[in-house]
Symmetry: C2
Subunit: 321 residues, 2 copies
């Protein structure tokens, strides 16, 4: 019987920003993420007697243009593992776009795991991470739970994620603050490319990431949530500095992004643990502690109208149900 | 008879961000500015029979704490030119803080020129620029009109401004957009220090400035206003990238800053010449052409309520009236 593969999404706390190799999605630097329990994708793959894959997302068949990225990915998988079968893919996304998370991380991790299961490839988690990365860079990290490091590597065999601590007892809570009236922004792929090619500061990004990774792993070992917050916020803002210094300059920040950053500073001034991280979009995710999260939530909802928050905790790695 | 010295303020289009020497205000890099006709300071200095300077600003005597920076500066001036006289300073500021400009550039330029006149020092403009710089770095540029370059230099004798083109026929208009509900921000001195010490990207700032200076001067020579706008916007955003990447990160942007940056992009998409520059505060100054300025003004006032704009053109250097 075909199993369902479940993969949770993850949030990068040391960001992935810049591809050294676009085909294999090899990044310029390592990155470090937290897998989240709240948002996941369930995927089932069944072999069909056809030379074309069929993809259903949330019970709706995708048309050719919408399924293209997935079908191309399946071609890659077939090539990597030398088989010819085609599939009917049924994928259900529990990553509401309204929560401000991309679903590509959980989506491609679940798809990779599902093919692994259906084709009895019996892949190691390392190989599964490599396979997922070929679909979407950040998917390589969603194979594992908790804190995860994606090693940049130099080619398709050496670029994969590994867990740092799959169930850290550190009380971290991630609060996603969803900005409704967001301006349409440029894709992360386009954004990365622009930073790499045109930011005068990009050459220092890898040195920064390398030193913040060391500090971050020490902070995990020390269960030092404040330090984790500090590094995460600095790393995220430095990534956004690479968009502001691109030529032409651009920013993913919306007016409300600045409002929320100001609120986070106020909360910290009042002794409440709250640090920001922001991906390639206007939404702010706040790193909180079990103790601070309700206060942060209340303060934001009291101070900005029309803003909702979604709480997430540490999530597990790939599961087969 | 004692003359009034008049100095106009200036806006840096290649920014000054970082002091190599705090005492003499020697910057890490050159900078390039446009002197503006709209905002200026008138200053008169009279020798008084006292061992303490007296300072009037806008017809009001400043108390000891408020006049301290000016009295300290006058001590520096006395030391530099070996005289003992003290002064009654009467200064009138036509730089409304509501227009989003700092008055220290025109203020210290006018004060330096005024002492030069009263004491018959007969200083060259180069020496006057050095003298003004000792009060406020950006004041070194307000000695001249039009486009001005401040050479960073390495010590008190070699750090001074020079005109590039005092009356360029280039049709540049600067529109200051004043954001009312601005959050209180950190001073530029504190901000610079933080960027220099903690931004992982600061080491690339001087290379960037050097190359953008060359391009900018070529654009002046070519009367290429669009190119001037592009370089100015990129340079300003890169300066703000140095605040975002400081540790801890900070930003001078207010929510309305982002709103206006979005509007400027929309204007450009409609073929209207408009480029942003932003100093150490939330206000946006827009580089326009004679043809575009009214459209830019109308569009902003139609799209954001409670926002006013002030228009300025190319200003002259120091004048004695």
């Amino acid at each position: 019987m075909t199993k369902i593969a479940r993969a949770y999404t993850n949030i990068a706390l040391i960001k992935y920003w810049g591809k050294k190799d676009k085909t294999y999605k090899i990044p310029y630097t390592d990155s470090l993420s937290l897998t989240l329990d709240r948002f996941y994708t369930d995927t089932k793959s069944e072999v069909i007697n056809s030379d074309k894959d069929v993809v259903f997302l949330n019970n709706q068949e995708l048309d050719d243009s919408k399924s293209l990225r997935i079908r191309n990915y399946l071609d890659t998988v077939r090539k990597m593992y030398s088989f010819d079968e085609h599939f009917q893919i049924n994928s259900t996304n529990h990553v509401p776009t309204s929560a401000g998370f991309a679903s590509s991380a959980s989506g491609f991790a679940a798809l990779a795991a599902s093919i692994n299961s259906t084709m009895n490839l019996d892949l190691s988690k390392k190989s599964l991470s490599i396979l997922a990365r070929n679909g979407s860079g950040s998917a390589s990290r969603s194979i594992f739970g908790g804190f995860v490091q994606w090693h940049a590597g130099t080619n398709n065999d050496t670029s994969f994620a590994e867990p740092i601590d799959e169930s850290p007892d550190i009380g971290i809570v991630l609060l996603s603050v969803v900005i409704s009236k967001a301006e349409k922004s440029i894709s992360s792929t386009t954004g990365m490319e622009s930073s790499v090619k045109t930011s005068p500061f990009y050459s220092n990004w890898s040195t920064l990431v390398a030193s913040e990774l060391v500090e971050f792993k020490q902070a995990i070992a020390n269960k030092d949530l404040q330090k984790i917050g500090e590094i995460s916020e600095h790393n995220a803002m430095s990534m956004h500095a690479l968009t502001l210094s691109a030529n032409p300059p651009y920013t993913y920040f919306a007016p409300e992004t600045i409002q929320i950053l100001n609120i986070i500073k106020k909360l910290r001034n009042n002794g409440i643990l709250a640090y920001a991280t922001i991906d390639a979009g206007p939404n702010v995710k706040i790193i909180c502690s079990k103790e601070s999260v309700q206060k942060v939530k209340d303060f934001i909802e009291a101070n900005i109208t029309g803003i909702s928050t979604v709480e997430a905790h540490i999530g597990r790695g790939i599961e087969y149900i």
